[in-house]
């Protein structure tokens, strides 16, 4: 009897240490998302990860976006997390087999709040972040598109509006809504520092043009895409 009491007391103490958001993450998210790292070290290991890594979520996402998206998730990667698992050869090009793409689990608003709080505590290492930061400023959408598409070829893999652009990477017209500006600068500067096996190449964009690209992504994110879809 005494031991049972001790056991219960210990369990309660334990739960107090792990936040409510962390408990939800452990129960409902870790089967698909890595929350303690490190990133996949081989291509095979990468393909086994069912969702994007979240172990540096606090350095990556905008908390406001997270809270909303977790309640009402919508697709970000038009061909899924690993396109090679969702495509088949078609007449003119490889096509996405959309029947293999599953909707993302949704949370209640209060759970989303707790989970966001827990995720925002997971910070990236200094090696991942690097030293580059976003310096602010703005750019016209048409000049931004030249830098993104013509000069650097980024549109090959990314949609810059629904239905226009490449399909293997995440849509970028909402990227600045989802991600912190410093993260965007850092990831474009050195994608392999975040994920050594990412299918995104380092295109060695000049530091000045990376600032312009992030300004462009911010301009894109201002449009109301949900309404336009």
């Amino acid at each position: 009897m005494r031991y049972l009491f001790l056991f219960v007391a210990l369990t309660v103490a334990n739960a107090a240490v792990a936040s409510e958001g962390m408990v939800i993450l452990q129960k409902r998210c870790v089967s698909c998302h890595e929350i303690s790292g490190p990133a996949a070290q081989s291509v095979q290991e990468l393909w086994q990860r069912k969702g994007p890594d979240l172990f540096y979520a606090g350095s990556k996402y905008n908390a406001e976006w997270l809270k909303k998206w977790l309640v009402k998730p919508r697709r970000i990667r038009p061909a899924g997390h690993h396109p090679i698992q969702h495509i088949q050869p078609g007449k003119k090009r490889d096509m996405v087999d959309t029947t293999t793409l599953r909707p993302h689990p949704a949370l209640s608003p209060s759970d989303a709040e707790e989970v966001t709080e827990a995720l925002m505590k997971l910070k990236a290492s200094a090696e991942m972040m690097g030293t580059a930061v976003f310096k602010g400023g703005s750019i016209s959408a048409s000049f931004g598109e030249m830098v993104f598409d013509k000069f650097n070829g980024c549109m090959a893999c990314h949609e810059i509006e629904p239905g226009y652009g490449g399909l293997s990477g995440p849509e970028v017209y909402t990227a600045a809504k989802r991600y912190q500006a410093d993260y965007l600068v850092s990831f474009i500067t050195d994608p392999q520092a975040w994920n050594p096996k990412t299918p995104m190449p380092n295109k060695h964009v000049s530091a000045a043009n990376i600032q312009k690209i992030v300004q462009y992504l911010q301009a894109l994110a201002k449009e109301n895409w949900d309404e336009k879809k």
Binding site: Q44, A79, P83, I87, D94, F151, A156, G166
Partner: protein
């Protein structure tokens, strides 16, 4: 005894996984990095091509690939299209792949085009 060996192998693989630079085989690399544009069969009709202003090379065509030396192929994979006065749409892969892995891909391309 057998179990011990299995355990040892597992342990060694784990050790190898935990040390950073892991060399992947050419087929996995081709699928992870090149399929997006060059296609699942290597014929240049990948997932991304619809809105691309320059089409990816058909790696299965002996005609399109035969005129290139191994050194040419190595260079374009490592440094990208711009390095050989071709399209910026062909990315440089030197930050994703080691020289050994790029040599592996050159061999793999030779198998695809059955040339050279």
């Amino acid at each position: 005894m057998r179990k011990n060996k299995l355990f040892l192998t597992l342990f060694v693989s784990l050790l190898m996984l935990s040390s950073a630079a892991w060399s992947d085989d050419a087929e996995d690399n081709y699928k992870n990095y090149c399929w997006q544009c060059h296609g699942m069969t290597g014929d240049g009709m990948g997932l991304n091509v619809q809105d691309m202003s320059v089409q990816p090379r058909d790696h299965t065509s002996a005609k399109a690939m035969g005129g290139r030396s191994d050194a040419d192929l190595f260079k374009v994979i490592k440094e990208g299209g711009l390095a050989i006065d071709k399209s910026v749409l062909m990315p440089p892969w030197r930050d994703s792949l080691s020289d050994d892995e790029i040599h592996g891909l050159v061999k793999y391309l030779r198998k695809l085009c059955q040339c050279g």
